[in-house]
Symmetry: C2
Amino acid sequence: MTVRVLLADDEHLIRGALAALLRLEDDLTVVAEAASGPEALAMARAHRPDVAVLDLQMPGADGVSVATSLRRELPDCQVMIVTSHGRPGHLKRALAVGVRGFVPKTVSAQQLAEIIRTVHGGRRYVDQELAADAISAGDSPLTAREAEVLELAADGAPIAEIAERASLSQGTVRNYLSSAVTKTGAENRHAAVRLARERGWV
Amino acid sequence: MTVRVLLADDEHLIRGALAALLRLEDDLTVVAEAASGPEALAMARAHRPDVAVLDLQMPGADGVSVATSLRRELPDCQVMIVTSHGRPGHLKRALAVGVRGFVPKTVSAQQLAEIIRTVHGGRRYVDQELAADAISAGDSPLTAREAEVLELAADGAPIAEIAERASLSQGTVRNYLSSAVTKTGAENRHAAVRLARERGWV
DNA sequence: CGGCACCCATGACAAATGTCAGACGCGTCC
DNA sequence: GGACGCGTCTGACATTTGTCATGGGTGCCG
């Protein structure tokens, strides 16, 4: 009885190579591959894999949102996420939507195969390093609105534009930003955006 | 007569998978692997490969700086760079230091093998898409100092800090930034940093 | 019910930032 | 030699921003 695996990664090179390596394991079968979020979803519906291995960053829809849909539509399919950049926030969001495995791309193929088996067996696997980061980053002190406004400030837009996009008065926006800056301990809102991103608060 | 290849990528999963795929080609031999910039350099010195395949982002030293050293120390070794995020600036910098191939990770393993042969044959290969981006981004209108100050502004630091780090007066910093903001057409320096990054001007 | 936290807003003040004009020295190129 | 671009600086001004006090509205929890 082999484990049926879905592989989703927008980088053809990686996906192909990964598929080749996993095929070497005789208890694993790659039944489908996808290069984007929506495609991953469609493939999953068509092939009903036991385990879905998703890249975090994909065009269309990112790994976490694909995972969300997958958990709802195919509860029997265990989802795990592979990523290059392990931001604590991603891990948190992923676990919240029911992802069972979260690993950086620095693991070896052997380890990955082992983790796929672990996840398929109903257990969970989270990379030590990333877990430690997530814990030390702590919970977000930002309120929903503060985080929202901070995100709108992410591309360096002036207050007026942020206010318009958020449908708030400029004064309110400044209050939220000021509060967010205080909470993050940043020098100004731009640095605050950076810090909040690093800690996974946005 | 086979092509001797050095593979450098900090992601174990990718590197291993890539090595496995390239080994399937009988005219290619992976003679060394490295997980960081300095390690890649050391491996290259020890094994003198015909072609070095470098990831753009690696701990220690990035692909371009490794390529620079490599070109100087081992002129017979052709260098190519593989990357996930193809910023036009990277391509430009890479070509400037003598990199012969620049490809995104979206190519297939087949194509990669073919490109390695191309590069080994002394010809060049640059991804169409990336080349188009680089051309359309145009040349940087920023002076050296403007670019330098813009980089120091990248993390959202206040002017005072930028001035200190650049050993300039605050007034001068503001002048450069103002000029950079005008040239990029941005709303403020933070947006200017973003734009300049996107276009590969920093 | 009485806090309490959050949402939204206003107004006022201080500090940071963006913009502009002008000035000096240094190279390069014609 | 002179024009020109660049780097560097100063000073002044308008604008944007951050901060604070204060207010009212909502909904939740003890």
